[in-house]
């Protein structure tokens, strides 16, 4: 059984997913990825027991980050799972909406790999 922190990253940009995978695997994380909220919910339905933290974008097709967070918080097994938003957005209005949906915290892109590492360890311990 791996003792690595298992992160699910949700982002519709393939380039951003590649950057996140590279940054996180090189720091010892197990990384799974989904391209939007719908794909994330489908993946979590069968793999959710092994996930330690979720990092999600906001602006995505089909299901955005706000709706994803709300859908996860309605499921008892994800009620306490840390969910961080990683977005180009930084307005107080958007942050308030994420807080209301049940997000744990917010990080503004572009991400810094060291700071993301620190944030993930902080919310998973």
């Amino acid at each position: 059984m791996s003792e690595n922190i298992h992160v699910l990253t949700v982002d519709d940009s393939a380039s951003m997913r590649a950057l996140l995978r590279s940054a996180l695997t090189s720091r010892g994380y197990d990384v799974s990825q989904a391209e939007d909220g719908v794909a994330a919910l489908e993946w979590l339905a069968s793999n959710g027991d092994n996930i330690d933290v979720i990092v999600t974008d906001i602006n995505m097709p089909r299901m955005d980050g706000f709706d994803l967070i709300e859908a996860l918080r309605e499921q008892s097994r994800f009620r306490d799972c840390p969910i961080l938003v990683l977005s180009t957005e930084s307005s107080d209005e958007k942050k308030a909406r994420a807080r209301s949906a049940g997000a744990t915290g917010w990080i503004v892109k572009p991400f810094d790999a060291e700071k993301l590492d620190t944030a993930l360890r902080r919310v998973t311990h």
């Binding site: 393939a14 380039s15 930084s90 997000a103 990080i107 503004v108 572009p110």
Partner: protein, 182 residues
Amino acid sequence: MRYDPDLAIGEPARITVMQGQVYVGSGAPEILTTVLGSCIACCLFDPLARVGGMNHFLLAEPTAGRGTVADENYGVYLMELLINQMMTRGGIKSRMKAHIYGGANMHSGMTRIGDANARFAVKFLDQERIPLARDDTGGVLARRVDFDPLKGRARSRIVEEVVAMSRPISRPQSSGGELELF
């Protein structure tokens, strides 16, 4: 009443897009303009929504001990910012087409950072499945680019004026990357 650019009278406003900036057309007659050396400007256009925009970036060169790959994080950020702002004005990513300009290698003997910037832009667009309609990059001379965000038309020309050597901006002016806990 919907604005029709073909019936517009008078000169469009000229908007200069500097390194590290993103600008998406407001719907009024505008020309987005920039001068590029090693930097890249990517122009995106959605022909159905008639919305276009431009960004302007320069990737940081690799630092000692960090390999030979330019730092792509900031480039991805500025591309995503452009796409997101296009979407807020009615653009749809799957309909967007791209032009890229710049990426000159203006100083012999130095790292060919212009080539690295152009390669990054082509790779990004390929990964995001955005068709590259025009690629005017490379060479050793600066370019001036003018882009009409309502029509999706661009003009690129070589300029003799000296472009001050740009330093890459690797972070936005506002702080990014910090965790804000709720």
